[in-house]
Symmetry: C2
Subunit: 647 residues, 2 copies
C-alpha cells in the first residue's frame, strides 16, 4: 500500500508539496536522531513507547515486588510506574505500618512479628476466566501468607498466614470465578510447621495445596470455608487453573521428586544437584470441584485449624494424579481454550504440551504407568501428550495471545520464543511451530503479555521480566536494578524490544497486564471512611466537632485535616498518658492528600480525601513535639502544623 500511494503521489505532481510537508517535520526528527545517534527503529520505538503529557495508558501491569513486599502498578506502553501498593512490608510514605492502627491490624493478621514479605505472584480476580478488575491477590513466599488487595482504593485489606506450612512459591492463583485462591507449599516442613529432624524428611515432611475460600461480597478470605490437600514432600511450584473445557481442574508442577534434603557440611551433595538428578518430575493434576465436595464431607478432619484432605483420602477419592514432566519445571500454563497444558522443564530445551481431552480420557480409562512412592497414580505420558516443541535453553514460563500464539521465556538463552498452538488455533504444518525469537537483556524470568493468562487474551505487547541489567543503565553501585523490557508482539510481525525500564525498588517475579478500562477505582473516599473496612468509621469527625477527651490516663483526640490547618493544633498531655488521635480528612478535592507526622514519636500516616485514620502511642518522652502535614498540600503547607506538649 505504501509503495502505491507513494508512487501515486509522485506521479500526480504533489511531490514538492509532499516534500515540504514531510521535510519540515522529518528534519526536526533527523536532527535529533543524528545528535542522539538514533536509528529509524529507535525512533519508532520511541514513538511506540511514548505517551504524550496527559495521555493515559490503555493498559496497567500489576507486577509483584518480590522481597520489597509490595506491588508495582505500571502503565503500558509508556512503562511508567504509576502506583506502589505496600502489602507485607511497611511504607512510611503511605503510612503503612508506621502509626496507622488499621494497617497494624491488617499486618498483624499475618503474624505479629512479621514486617516484611517476599511477594511473588499477583492474581487478579476473574469472572468466567477473565479479569474483572475488582481484587488482586498476592502471596508471601518467605512466610506462606496470602493477601487481598481491593482495587477500589488499591490498598491491602487482609493478610493471612497458612497454618499448615511456612514457605510457598505457588501462590496466588484463582479459580475462573474466584471461588478459591490457590497456594502451594514449596520448601516443605512437617504439617502444621511442627518440629521433626531432617533425617525424617520422607516420613514426616509433607507438601500441601491450600484452597482459600474467597467471599467476594465481604472482600475477604473465609478461613472456615477454606481447605487443603496433603501432598508428597516434593517442592510444589507454579500452579494454573483449568478453564472452559478443563474448568474444575488444577495443575501444579513440582521439583525435587528426588526427595533430596540438605546437609552439605557433611558430605551431602549441593541441593541444586541433588534435586536435579531425575530426568522427569511430576505434574500434579487435581480435580478441585470433587475435592471441594470431599472437604465438606464428614470424613475430613481439621489439622492446625484447617480442613485437610489427607494424601490417602486424595488417592482413594481419585482427586490426584501425576504426569511425568521434564526435570525442574517452572511454569505450567493453560491455553485460553483450556485444552492445552504447557509445561517447560528449565533444564530441557522443549516446551511440553499436554491435552486436557486426552487427560480426561486417560483418567476415565485408568491409563496409568505405576505409582510414585506415596501411592499416587502416574498417567501414561504418551496418552496425554499433544506436542513437544524445541524452543531453546532454559524455558520457564508461557503466555498466550488472541491469535493462538504462545510466548515462552528462555532464561539461559536470554530470549523470548514465539510459537504456534495446535487446533483450533493453527492446523497441520502451521501448528506447534517455533516462529520467532528475540533477545532480551538479561536473564528473563517470567514474561507477561496483555491478559495473556486469561480465557480471552489480548495482543500487541509482552513485557520481559529480566532479572539482570548488567550494562543497560549507568553504574549506580554494586546493587543493580532489574530490567523490564517492553516487546512488540503484534500479529505475525517479528518481535521487537521497544523499551528498557529499570526496576530499582523491587524484584518482580510475575506480573499481569489488564485493560485499564476494566478497573473502576474511587477518586476520593466517601467522607468519614475507614480504609480497613471500606465502611464509615465510628471515630470520624466533622469540622466543628473536633475535641480532646480525657478518661483517666487515656486521651482521645478527634482531629480534622483540611488545607491548611490541623484542628486541634495544640495537644497538652502528661508523660505516661496513652494518646489516641483519630484523624479525619474532610477534603473532597481530588489529590488533596495530607500526611500526619509527630516528631520523635515514629508516627506517620497518609490521609487521602475523606479517609479516617487512628494513631495510638504512649507519651513516654516529655518535651515539645511538633506534628505537621507531611504531604505538600497547598501554598501554606509549611504552616499546617501543631504541637504535642508532654509535661
Amino acid at each position: 500500500m505504501m509503495i502505491l500511494s507513494r508512487i501515486r503521489f509522485i506521479l500526480s505532481g504533489y511531490l514538492v508539496l509532499l516534500c515540504i510537508a514531510t521535510q519540515s517535520q522529518a528534519s526536526v526528527l533527523e536532527d535529533i536522531a543524528k545528535k542522539r545517534g538514533l536509528t529509524a527503529s529507535d525512533m519508532r520505538a520511541a514513538l511506540m513507547t511514548y505517551t504524550p503529557s496527559g495521555k493515559h495508558d490503555p493498559y496497567l501491569m500489576f507486577a509483584s515486588g518480590g522481597h520489597a513486599g509490595s506491588v508495582l502498578v505500571i502503565g503500558l506502553p509508556s512503562m511508567r510506574l504509576i502506583k506502589t501498593i505496600p502489602v507485607f512490608s511497611p511504607d512510611s510514605w503511605q503510612g503503612w505500618g508506621t502509626g496507622s492502627l488499621d494497617s497494624k491490624r491488617i499486618l498483624d493478621g499475618g503474624g505479629k512479628a512479621l514486617r516484611w514479605g517476599d511477594l511473588h505472584h499477583p492474581a487478579l480476580s476473574e469472572t468466567n476466566g477473565v479479569y474483572d478488575g475488582q481484587f488482586l491477590f498476592v502471596n508471601d513466599k518467605a512466610n506462606a501468607r496470602v493477601a487481598v488487595i481491593d482495587l477500589r482504593d488499591f490498598s491491602t485489606k487482609q493478610i493471612l498466614q497458612n497454618p499448615l506450612f511456612v514457605n510457598d512459591h505457588g501462590g496466588t492463583f484463582v479459580t475462573p470465578n474466584t471461588e478459591y485462591i490457590i497456594e502451594t507449599s514449596q520448601y516443605n516442613v512437617p504439617l502444621g510447621a511442627r518440629y521433626a529432624p531432617m533425617t525424617d524428611y520422607k516420613k514426616k515432611y509433607r507438601g500441601v495445596v491450600t484452597f482459600w475460600k474467597f467471599d467476594r461480597a465481604q472482600g475477604k478470605i473465609n478461613l472456615s470455608q477454606s481447605f487443603s490437600i496433603e501432598l508428597p514432600p516434593y517442592w510444589q511450584d507454579i500452579v494454573d487453573l483449568g478453564k472452559k473445557v478443563s474448568d474444575g481442574y488444577l495443575f501444579i508442577n513440582s521439583i525435587n521428586t528426588e526427595l533430596a534434603s540438605p546437609d552439605n557440611m557433611n558430605q551431602k551433595p549441593q541441593l541444586e544437584m541433588a534435586v536435579s538428578r531425575n530426568d522427569m518430575d511430576f505434574l500434579h493434576v487435581i480435580d478441585w470441584k470433587k475435592a471441594e465436595k470431599v472437604a465438606k464431607s464428614a470424613g475430613t478432619q481439621k489439622t492446625a485449624g484447617m480442613k485437610l484432605i489427607t494424601l490417602k483420602q486424595a488417592i482413594q477419592e481419585k482427586l490426584l494424579y501425576f504426569i511425568h514432566e521434564p526435570k525442574s519445571p517452572h511454569g505450567v500454563d493453560v491455553s485460553p481454550d483450556g485444552n492445552y497444558i504447557v509445561v517447560s522443564g528449565k533444564l530441557d530445551p522443549h516446551v511440553t504440551v499436554f491435552e486436557f481431552n486426552k487427560l480426561k480420557n486417560a483418567i476415565a480409562q485408568n491409563l496409568v504407568q505405576g505409582k510414585d512412592e506415596y501411592g499416587v497414580p502416574i498417567l501414561k505420558f504418551d496418552s496425554v501428550l499433544a506436542a513437544q516443541i524445541e524452543v531453546g535453553l532454559g524455558p520457564l514460563h508461557t503466555q498466550f495471545d488472541k491469535q493462538g500464539y504462545a510466548y515462552t521465556s528462555l532464561f539461559l538463552d536470554s530470549a523470548i520464543a514465539k510459537w504456534s498452538l495446535g487446533e483450533p488455533y493453527h492446523k497441520g504444518n502451521a501448528a506447534w511451530k517455533l516462529l520467532d525469537k528475540v533477545s532480551v537483556h538479561y536473564n528473563i524470568g517470567h514474561l507477561s503479555c496483555v491478559e495473556g493468562d486469561t480465557a480471552e487474551p489480548g495482543e500487541g505487547y509482552c513485557v520481559s521480566l529480566n532479572k539482570w541489567a548488567i550494562d543497560r543503565f549507568p553504574n549506580v553501585g554494586p546493587l543493580l536494578p532489574q530490567n523490564f523490557q517492553l516487546v512488540s508482539t503484534t500479529g505475525s510481525e517479528k518481535m521487537q524490544v521497544l523499551y528498557d525500564m529499570p526496576i530499582p525498588n523491587a524484584e518482580p517475579h510475575y506480573a499481569q497486564i489488564v485493560k485499564a478500562e476494566r478497573l473502576k477505582p474511587w477518586s476520593v473516599y466517601p467522607l468519614g471512611m475507614s480504609a480497613e473496612t471500606m465502611k464509615p468509621s465510628p471515630v470520624a469527625t466533622l469540622a466543628g466537632k473536633e475535641r480532646i477527651v480525657r478518661k483517666g490516663n487515656t486521651v482521645d483526640v478527634y482531629m480534622t485535616t483540611i488545607r491548611s490547618h490541623l484542628t486541634p493544633d495544640l495537644i497538652n498531655v502528661k508523660k505516661g498518658d496513652l494518646v489516641r488521635i483519630h484523624l479525619s480528612s474532610i477534603e473532597r478535592a481530588l489529590d488533596a492528600t495530607h500526611g500526619f507526622a509527630i516528631s520523635r514519636y515514629n508516627i506517620n500516616v497518609s490521609l487521602e480525601p475523606g479517609k479516617v485514620e487512628t494513631v495510638e502511642f504512649k507519651a513516654d518522652q516529655s518535651g515539645v513535639f511538633p506534628y505537621y502535614c507531611t504531604e505538600f498540600c497547598s501554598a501554606l503547607h509549611l504552616e499546617m502544623t501543631g504541637y504535642l506538649v508532654v509535661q
Copy 2:
C-alpha cells in the same frame, strides 16, 4: 529499501533523493503518529526523552523521597528511576533495617525507636562549589536528623540526631568545600528539646542553625567538631551558602517572624493566617567562618552535648544580621558567581535579589534600620537590594544555568518563569528581565536544573517537581502520584515540557542533577567487605572455611553464598539459642546479587558480590524454617536453599 530504489529509478535529482530518504523514514513515524494521535511536537518530545535500549543517560538526578525516607536516583533525559537509596525508613528489598546488624547500628545512630523519616533536601558534596560526586547528605524533617550516603556504593553510612531541636526543614546544605553540613530548626522547641509550656514560646523556645563538621577521609560527620548558633524562635527555612565572592557567608530565610503559637481550639487564629500577617520576614545573614573561630574559643560552652554560640554572643561578635524579605519566603538561592542572593516570598509575585558586594558594604558601614525584638541588627533594605522582578504568583525556588538565566518555580501559577540575571551575565535592558513562562502540571514546589545550584551550572534541562498530578495518569485510587516534568531550557529557545514522570513511591521536595561522569561508583565490593565501614569485615568467610561454632547458648554460623548454594545448608539449634549468621558473598561477577531470608523469623538481607552481612536472632520458635536466596540469581535459584531446624 525496495520502495527507495524503485522511486530513485523513476525520478532523479538531489532534492528528490533527499525527499525520498526523508520520506521513507518519516512515513514510518507518521503512520505510528497517526495511529497514536501524536503531533510533531509529541514526536520530538518522544525522541528527546527516549534513551535507546542500552544507552546511558548523561545526567543523574538525586531526588529526596520525602516521608518515604529514601532517595531516588533518576536518569536524565530518559526520566527513568535507576536506584532507590533507603536512609531513614526500612527497605526489605535491600535488607535495610530488616535483619542486617550493620543497617540496624546505622539506623539506631539516629534514635533507637525511629524507623521512618521525612527526607527533604539532598546535598551532593562539593569541591570549590562544584559537585565532586563523592557523598550525598540528606535531612529528616520529622526528627531533625542528618545522614551521610557514600556514592561508591550508594548506601547510607551514618545517621545523627540533632541534640538541640526535634524538627528541621533547612537541611542539608554544604559549604563550598564540604567542610560543614548545614541544618536549621523549623518548628522550634526549647533548646535541647526540653519541656516548656506553649505560653512561654517567645521566652523559652529558640531557633538553631547547626554546622555539622564533615570528615571527608573518614566519610563521617564528627560531632565533637560540630557547633550550633542560637537564633530567635522564628521558623528558619531554606538555606544557601555563599560561594566565590560570598564564600564564608550563609543565608537562611525565615517564616513566622510574627512569633505566632498555636491554640485554635481556644479562639487563637489558624496558624497559616497568624504566621502570614507581616509583610516582611527576615533573611538571616551569617558569617560562618568567623562563627567557626568563635565556636573554637574558650567562651563557647556546650549545650546538650553540642558547642552552642548563644544569640547574645552571635550579636556581640557581629556574626548575625537580618535583611527584610517578602513574607513567607521559601527559597534563598545564590547565583553561580556568588554575588546575587535571590529570595522569593511565596505570597509576593516578585523575586527579590540582593547583592553581596552591597551587603558587605552595608555591614562594614553599619547601615542598619533598627533591630528585631531579640536585638539582631537589621540591614537597610535599599542598601543591599539589586533588583525585584515580577515573575508571577507563588514564587518558591530558583535555579540557574551557564548563560546567566534564572528559573523560578511558581506554585500558584503552576508554571516556571525564566528571567535574566544582571551584570556580568546581562547588561542594561537585557538584565533583570522576565523572558519566558511555561505551564506545568500541577503545583510545582522546587525545581532542579542541571547542576543549577553550583558555581558552574550546566544547561539544557530543568525538572519541575510537581506536587499534584490530578488528571495526568490513569486513575489508580484516591492516593495519586507526584509528577516530575522534564522541561527543555536550551539557550534562548522557549521552554517546553517534554515528558511526565509519575512518582508514586515518594514525595520529593528537592533534587540535584549531576553529570554522571563525575561519579565513580564501585561495580562490586572487594571480597569480604563490610558496607557499614567500607573496610574488610572481621567475620568474612571464604569457600571451604564455612563453619558452625557453638559457645554455650550462642551459635555463630559462618556462611558463604555463591550460585547456586548456601553453605551450610542445614543449621540445627535448640529453642532459646542466640543465633548469629555471618554471611559472605564470594561472588565476583557484576550483578550476581543474592538475598538471604529465613521463614517466619522476619529476616531478609541483600548480598551484593563481595559483601558481608550479619543477622542475629533468638531462636524463640521451635520447628523447621527454610532459608533461601531471595534475589533471582541463576537457573537454579529456586534450589538455593537450606533449613534452620529449631528443636
